[in-house]
Amino acid sequence: MRRRSGTLVIGGSLVAMVILAALVSFVWTPHDPGLVVPQDRLAGPSGKHWLGADKLGRDELSRLMVGARTTLLVGIVSVGVAALIGVPLGLVAAMTWRWLGEILMRVSDFVLAFPAVLLAIMLTAIYGSGVVIAMIAIGISTIPAFARVVRSGALQVMSTEYVVAARAAGRRPVGIGLRHVLPNVTSLIIVQASVSFAIAILAEAALSFLGLGAPPDVPSWGRMLQESQSLLQQAPRLAIVPGVAIALAVLGFNLLGDGLRDLLDPRLQQRRVEVQR
């Protein structure tokens, strides 16, 4: 029990740090994240640049803070859209005709077979690169996770006596879905959102690293990583800083998801509904 709540606290703190960094960056950063200062090029950590400066002399910490915005924005939009589409799909798959559920699950298998990055490359080839394309690609590839988790959760709820009792009281299928099934899979949805968020962060970083995400003038962790690539020998710090940020954010959302699962619904462990990683 103790260890579990530790998971929640650590995960929550890491996530809070990312959110805080992003929020503070709107009103304050140590320096202008876009400001090029030639004489600070590749400067090491100092009182002026706590985390040093990059190859153009831009402040690393400032760029990291503003980059957190990109990370969170992409995560929120893509996970939000995925949930908005995936949750109803999962409910429909569980509650309507069996054949429709089967079809939806096969389609989701198909989508799952395409990693977000691959999908983004395809979309980019057609529509050009950008944050929106990244969000769409990540969002689409996250839909199956929600649909599957909600479907398996809903199937379990559907077999409970209170759903039979609700039908015995005259509830119709739509009412059962909204009033009885959905509220009882909410905790699953929250946990899945947290875990999917971690995956979205990684995907966004990967896309930016490939130059398919945020445009060059928008700071993002993946792009910082990419820009550090040619300087790995000279200034490994430039790779370590965004790398650690990404790792901690991913870890944070994963731990938060695990912690929330234990907190929100201890029964989930017995119910054996696995979140999709």
Binding site: T160, E161, Y162, V164, A165, A169, R171, N184
Partner: protein, 321 residues
């Protein structure tokens, strides 16, 4: 007395396996009918079939009619059944721990039924009616209970809530499937009392499923004895319990020994209830019956004036003159 519920030749099947066969029963207004039998006899399936609530994969045959509703409930779709359920006919389940939605407040769950069937159009009115109803079924501090979630109530209190939901729209028929089996003995009597009073106040028909013959003796007027998915004996409680004819019924009574009622559970009849579908052909009780002969290998016909009175035994227990 008009029949509120009339089932004829009701069967439940999965694939070509028959789980319940040829059940014919009527329950009249104000009448209280017991349905007894060992575990696995098909009592719950019968109840679910009457409500049109059979789980996926199970199908009902025969006919079920509710007084005043022209349609046969067997084969009716959800659109026809939903307006009847909870309004004309409702059900109390065995397990009060799982029959309530854990994420919904008690008051909302009671009010829901009334809103669904338009007993009240406004949520606020339905809520206050729900509190009244909770008071009615004897929940202490009903206003507080209405705001509580199911896990905050005891098993007995929850079963009162379930009963309140079932009675909310003054149904014509209440089906109870072992409503007190999961409760403490002390609470059982209170919940039984609440159900019988609730039914009497509404002049509703009651179909009461139980293991407990003592409960049937106190609650019911008539009784149906079920075994192997069939009704093997039926009649007035006093008649059936004092002068059983079917060998299964007499075994059941001997095993329970009403005079010496212990915890209400059935003691043993020799042998055990076969798996569904593994009952012998002919008389379903044949493989456990001491009086069985080769004549029992064909399905015994019903002996009695009507389906509500009689038995299906080739060698019935002799009635002392």
């Amino acid at each position: 007395m008009s029949a509120v519920l009339k089932a004829e030749g009701l069967g439940v099947h999965t694939g070509d396996l028959a789980l319940v066969q040829d059940v014919t029963l009527t329950v009249g207004r104000g009448e209280r009918v017991g349905l007894i039998g060992e575990s696995g006899s098909g009592k719950s399936l019968t109840a679910l079939a009457l409500m049109g609530l059979l789980p996926e994969g199970l199908h009902a045959t025969g006919s079920v009619r509710l007084d005043g509703s022209p349609a046969d409930l067997v084969g009716a779709d959800e659109d026809e059944l939903a307006p009847l359920r909870g309004k004309r006919m409702s059900m109390v389940f065995q397990e009060p721990m799982t029959a309530l939605n854990p994420t919904m407040r008690i008051g909302d769950q009671v009010a829901e039924g009334m809103l669904l069937h338009r007993a009240h159009r406004r949520r606020a009115a339905a809520r206050s009616a729900a509190v009244e109803l909770l008071d009615d079924v004897g929940l202490p501090s009903p206003a507080e209970a209405a705001r509580a979630y199911p896990h905050q109530l005891s098993g007995g209190q929850r079963q009162r809530v379930v009963a309140a939901i079932a009675l909310a729209n003054d149904p014509d028929l209440l089906i109870c499937d072992e409503p007190t089996t999961a409760l403490d003995v002390t609470v059982q009597a209170l919940v039984l009392d609440l159900i019988t009073r609730g039914v009497a106040a509404r002049d509703a028909a009651l179909l009461f499923i139980t293991h407990d013959l003592g409960v049937v003796a106190t609650v019911c007027d008539r009784v149906l004895v079920m075994y192997g998915g069939r009704i093997v004996e039926a009649g007035e409680v006093a008649q059936v319990f004092t002068r059983p004819r079917h060998r299964y019924t007499s075994g059941l009574l001997a095993a329970s020994d009403l005079a010496r009622t212990d915890d209400g559970r059935l003691l043993t009849i020799p042998g055990s209830v076969p798996q569904a579908g593994a009952f012998p052909a002919g008389c379903v009780f044949r493989n456990r019956c001491a009086a069985a002969t080769s004549a029992c290998e064909t399905l015994p016909s019903w002996v009695g004036p009507d389906p509500e009175h009689g038995h299906a035994c080739v060698h019935p227990v002799e009635v002392p003159a």
